[in-house]
């Protein structure tokens, strides 16, 4: 049974929270002991709590995003039709990607130069790239989609959605949904294992200029789930009563997953049975917490209020521009002897303030607002 397209407040709100929690995640990595080896703005002040928070949010934040993207894809396609859908996505996803990727690359280059010039205690990665950037003939850094990999992969998912709509019948969805709920969950966990086995844990950002098969598979499953849930409302609601169990299962999975992660994520990854256990926990944690987030969101966030509407409106802009600003602030604080918690708070607050200020100065009153924040522009 298909739902009539209305306003899904809890999904809008969840998307806003997920986007904003991305800022917290990226900020936390600088003070995470496990990320010291590969994070550009890694700080000498660290605390294990940042690891606990960062990798927990990392487990389900992007899967949740892709689930929501799949849901809204089905909604928009049904509401507007294929051609209007394509136009909308070109405007809202492809155009910001094309526009902001070069701008953010330039901005990141500037921020890196600032970091190299000012930071006295550079991170391992900053030390590694220093000779590459300061040489007389600077080496070319590999092309990267940076944190915009999400938009980039979405474009491929839209193409695959078209293919699936053309090739597959609705009967397949109905057959899958006819499975007992817990069997369906188990099947999804099993389907998530192959892509996870191809990459180190926790999953890295597939930010190379080319989409990776593991990312198309792993995130594609969540995207497909979101798509199916729009078309079959009962697919999600039949787990409503089990939301606490899902939350608990996710927590147990995360606990085991976290314990098995190497102290330094750059180090040799566990192999054999340990690797299998890690990816089973990663898959079940991602799935259970994504579902739990949706179910709790449905229960407690399914309402519209000015603050949530505002956050929802600005979140796309914040997602687009926060990384260079965050790195700039964190580079500025690296050599200070402040506790990690204070640095984290300052980094988050200054970054968010900068993002919001730029939103009101550069986005809302301009044409850009119609692209990255049509809802906020209307408000």
């Amino acid at each position: 049974m298909q739902q009539s397209p209305g306003r899904f407040y809890y999904l809008d709100n969840l998307r806003a929270f997920a986007m904003l929690s991305g800022v917290l995640f990226h900020a936390a990595l600088a003070y995470s002991p496990k990320a010291q080896g590969f994070w550009l703005s890694a700080d000498p002040q660290q605390h294990a709590l940042f690891d606990v928070f960062a990798w927990a949010s990392h487990l389900f934040r992007m899967p949740l995003f892709f689930f929501l993207a799949g849901f809204f894809t089905a909604l928009l396609w049904q509401k507007a039709g294929g051609v209007a859908f394509a136009k909308n996505r070109l405007l809202r996803v492809a155009l910001p990607l094309l526009l902001f990727l070069p701008l953010l690359t330039l901005a990141m280059h500037g921020v890196l130069q600032f970091g190299l010039a000012t930071v006295q205690q550079p991170s391992a990665l900053l030390q590694l790239i220093k000779p590459m950037l300061t040489a007389e003939a600077p080496a070319e850094l590999p092309l990267s989609t940076m944190h915009l990999w999400f938009l980039y992969h979405l474009l491929f998912f839209y193409v695959l959605t078209y293919c699936a709509r053309t090739l597959l019948s609705d009967a397949l969805q109905a057959r899958l949904l006819a499975l007992p709920p817990w069997l369906l969950l188990l099947l999804l966990v099993l389907l998530l294992l192959p892509p996870l086995s191809l990459v180190p844990a926790p999953v890295p950002a597939p930010e190379w200029i080319f989409p990776a098969l593991w990312a198309l598979w792993f995130y594609g499953l969540f995207f497909a789930c979101g798509y199916v849930v729009f078309r079959h409302a009962d697919a999600l609601s039949r787990y409503s009563a089990d939301r606490r169990v899902l939350l608990g299962l996710g927590a147990i999975s995360y606990l085991v997953f976290y314990q098995l992660l190497p102290a330094d994520l750059r180090a040799q990854q566990p192999q054999g049975w340990t690797k299998l256990l890690i990816i089973v926990c990663e898959a079940s944690g991602a799935l259970c917490w994504t579902l739990a987030a949706l179910l709790y969101g449905q229960r407690y966030l399914n309402r519209s209020n000015p603050v949530l509407r505002y956050l929802s409106g600005v979140s796309y802009w914040v997602y687009l521009v926060h990384i260079p600003l965050l790195f700039l602030v964190q580079f500025g604080m690296t050599d200070l002897l402040w506790p990690a918690g204070v640095k984290f708070l300052v980094a988050v607050l200054v970054t968010l303030s900068g993002c919001l200020l730029s939103f009101h100065l550069l986005v809302k009153p301009t044409l850009l607002g119609k692209i990255v924040a049509p809802a906020a522009a209307r408000v």
């Binding site: 193409v159 695959l160 078209y162 293919c163 090739l167 200029i209 198309l216």
Partner: protein
């Protein structure tokens, strides 16, 4: 010079062909995305496997569309139905040429652009770009050859024979290219080295492709009956 006597019908015939191959094209598109994803895993084995699959996909798309849209139309008696429609043999021929070219060129361009993007963005030497472009143009030329055969003869046998010959020639063409000093000496160059040899080969490939298409169009235009 041919004038379209019935452009609306030509458009409808092209749309009809699109509807017929829509599912196949969606499958090829999904295959293309997965192959790009395979190449994106960035290991030498998966990258090379992906490159071979990509070439295979380009050949398969061409072969299937020529057989499905042209040869089978006669075999399945669809052509006899077409003869009862208010279209001339020329209208039909133009529609077939247009539909086939459109339905092949779009995925061909996407796949070639995808491969070039992989090369530019990966540690693969950009020096291989001329080789990749020349091989892709050869595949396009091959497609035009068996499309021309299919359109002019409606014969499955002749069309399959041309497919076999062009596919055999592809291997020979790659080996021939790799033996040319002007090509193989620049393969490991950091940038694409277009020299006089590779440019001449490219011009020849494009020229031959245009020639085959023009000849097909002229011969089609002279047709006085569907068969």
């Amino acid at each position: 010079m041919h004038t379209f006597s019935n452009s609306q019908m030509i458009k409808l015939l092209i749309l009809k062909d699109w509807q017929l191959v829509k599912k196949s094209l969606a499958a090829y598109l999904a295959g293309g995305v997965l192959i790009i994803g395979l190449m994106g895993m960035a290991t030498p084995l998966l990258f090379n496997t992906g490159a071979i699959l990509m070439i295979t996909l380009m050949i398969v798309i061409g072969a299937r569309s020529a057989i499905e849209l042209v040869v089978n139309e006669k075999k399945d008696q669809t052509l006899t139905f077409m003869m009862s429609l208010p279209v001339t043999a020329q209208d039909y021929a133009w529609a077939k040429l247009g539909a086939n070219l459109l339905l092949y060129l779009v995925p061909w361009l996407l796949l070639v652009a995808g491969m070039l993007l992989v090369i530019v963005s990966s540690p693969v030497y950009n020096g291989v770009i001329p080789l990749v472009v020349l091989v892709s143009v050869f595949i396009l030329l091959s497609y035009c050859c068996y499309l021309a055969t299919a359109l002019l003869t409606y014969s499955e046998g002749y069309t399959t024979a041309v497919m076999i010959v062009t596919n055999l020639l592809l291997n020979g063409f790659i080996i021939w290219l790799l033996r040319m000093p002007a090509i193989h000496l620049t393969l490991e160059a950091p940038t694409a080295s277009w020299n006089s040899t590779s440019l001449l080969l490219l011009a020849a490939g494009v020229g031959l492709t245009v020639l085959v298409l023009l000849t097909t169009a002229v011969l089609q235009n002279r047709k006085t009956s569907f068969l």
